[in-house]
Amino acid sequence: MTPVITADHLTIRFGEVTAVNDVSFAIGKGELFGFLGPNGSGKTTIIKALCGLLAPSEGTGTILGMDIRRDAAEIKRHVGYMSQKFGLYEDLSVSENMGFYAGVYGMTGAQAKQRKEEILALTGLEPYLHRRVSVLSGGWKQRLALGCAIIHSPEVVFLDEPTAGIDPVARRSLWDLFFQLSGQGVTFFVTTHYMDEAERCGRVGYIYLSKLAALGTIEELQRLPEANPAGTSRVQIETADASMMLGSLREMEGVREATIFGRSIHALVETSEIERLHARFPQSTIETIEPSLEDVFVTLTYQIMKASR
């Protein structure tokens, strides 16, 4: 099966700054692809390049087989885009916003009307049809923004931090919508800060310092050799006072990383030192665990930081 979105050694430079450095990936139809990375790591730049708004400095990419350098105008008709800024007109009603975007994509009359009804049914915005957007809550705005972004039935949808700043319940129901649509064959490219969101994605890419540091399913990432250096073990330490323990733990020899997770500590330690750990903290339960996605990214980030120094 031919991939729907590809990036092929994509490099984007702004003057001296390299915003995206030699990034390659391929995303298949109906996939929900999560893209993680800190602010300024190049996530939005990659989306802009894939939508044909930015010409890559080197490399190329395709959307539905169309070249992002040559077919930018055509790509826009097949791609939906939604950012954390909503892109909604606050002084217009829900219906007017949808009508505007339908018009912008060249839909008219009966076709636009039918599509609007489909979107209303999908998003549950029917009761708010004639409300102004300014009075809607963040969650509803987000649903409307998604509705407007997919009004032209795009095969590919780019979501740039779609759930930034909305409450957990609204976030979850928005993700349910993504799953529903991806089940219908729509391909999603979602950037996010949230680990729990990333964990819901079929595959995840992690971009750090403009480079794609890791790419794969959650399981693949957890088993990455870079995330599990030879001779080390990932342990979870249950303790009464995690914050007290963290300091002394970090100073211990053989402890490479230590991070608090709720009431416990996740640490990457040299396997030979585990016995000493038991001896040092006899009150605590210490067990070996699989790394979480966050553990993986933290480990990768430390390694890249060390390497780039």
Partner: protein, 372 residues
């Protein structure tokens, strides 16, 4: 060609909805120019009339009283006070109680009778340079007439009589001269501001970013914005012209239709300018400042207040790149002189070219930025 303007219709419709949705802004946008029209239309009067005048008559003769009466009878001077000493005369001038001081020396009548030249001192407050010149002219005129009358004796015939005839604005009313120019300035300010703010608002709220991801073409977006604000500005022009004609009583000597048609290229240009500003400004405050920055050159270098003919060469060139210069020529030409298309077509063509240039510039800037 169609692809270049793709999306203008939905953008245009949406923009009209914005305008209707926000009647407060609309009201102020339309009302403010009218308020300014009344303020400036009534306040700006460069014809000097009724200057407060202080008189020191040391002669105390029939001849001196006759001269003072003649001066006071002209519309230019108004006898505000009479004083008895030089100190009082200069004091009144310094205090600003009088703009003109007239001193008739004690030997005025005697010199007249002796046939030697009698002198009259006329002091004019030069801190108001526009009134000073006219006051000097008026007093010289009165003195000249008085001298001639005396030279020729009572029933003599004037050897030469100059009959100045002011064409096109016979009563030399200031309103006739200033209101047509004011139209250009008001229309420009309002239009630039409205369209620039509308686009920058979209930039601030992130809807512009969303639009760049849709198939809407840059020119489609710009034309879609220009149509509603163009319609708004055109309606405002009609209201202003009506007020000019019936409230300020400025007659329109030329064709109103030609005037309206020739206003379109100017509107095109200022809409384009607003768009260029909107590509430069990142916030609404910036857009406001940049818009206001276009006002002063259009007031001072367009021939609205200062005659272009008397400007230094450099500023003559500058005035030629200011759109208001051409529109003021069109307005004054049609309204005051009854000029027609065949007299003013060059101005129309220049404005059209300027309009297209600014719009292309804005579209180019827009495309460049969205990549950056």
């Amino acid at each position: 060609m169609k692809a270049q303007f793709y999306g203008f219709l939905p953008v245009c419709r949406k923009e009209f909805t914005h305008i209707v949705r926000d009647p407060g802004t609309l009201f102020f946008a339309l009302l403010l120019p009218l308020v300014q029209l009344f303020l400036f239309g009534y306040a700006v009067d460069t014809n000097v009339r009724q200057l407060p005048t202080v008189v020191l008559d040391e002669s105390h003769t029939q001849e001196s009283r006759q001269l003072v009466e003649r001066l006071a009878a002209s519309d230019v001077f108004r006898l505000a006070m009479t004083v008895q000493s030089n100190e009082e005369l200069y004091g009144a001038m310094r205090a600003g109680k009088a703009r003109v001081g007239i001193k008739v020396p004690y030997d005025y009548a005697r010199r007249l009778q002796d046939g030697t030249t009698a002198t009259v001192l006329v002091l004019v407050d030069g801190s108001e340079s526009s009134t000073a010149g006219q006051a000097v002219n008026a007093s010289t005129g009165v003195a000249l007439k008085e001298s001639l009358g005396r030279l020729l004796g009572g029933g003599g015939v004037m050897p030469i009589e100059v009959r100045p005839s002011v064409l096109y604005n016979p009563s030399t009313r200031s309103a006739n001269f200033f209101v047509p120019g004011l139209i250009a300035v008001l229309l420009q300010t309002m239009t630039i501001l409205l369209i620039a703010l509308s686009l920058v608002r979209e930039r601030e709220r992130g809807t512009l970013e969303q639009l760049t991801m849709t198939p809407v073409a840059p020119l489609g977006l710009m034309v879609g914005k220009m149509i509603p604000y163009g319609v708004l500005a055109f309606s405002e022009l009609c209201v202003i012209l009506t007020i000019m004609r019936y409230v300020f009583q400025v007659p329109i000597h030329g064709s109103v239709i030609v005037l309206l048609v020739m206003s379109l290229p100017f509107l095109l240009t200022v809409l384009g300018l607003g768009l260029v500003i909107s590509t430069k400004a990142m916030t609404q405050a910036e857009a406001f400042q940049l818009s206001m920055g276009t006002v002063l050159p259009s007031v001072f270098l367009s021939g609205y207040i200062f005659l272009i003919d008397t400007m230094p060469a450099f500023f003559k060139v500058v005035s030629r790149i200011i759109p208001a210069t051409y529109y003021i020529e069109i307005l004054r030409g049609i309204i005051l002189r009854g000029a027609g298309l065949k007299d003013l077509w060059v101005d129309g063509v220049v404005l059209t070219l300027m309009g297209c240039t600014t719009i292309m510039l804005a579209a180019w800037q827009f495309v460049r930025q969205k990549r950056g």
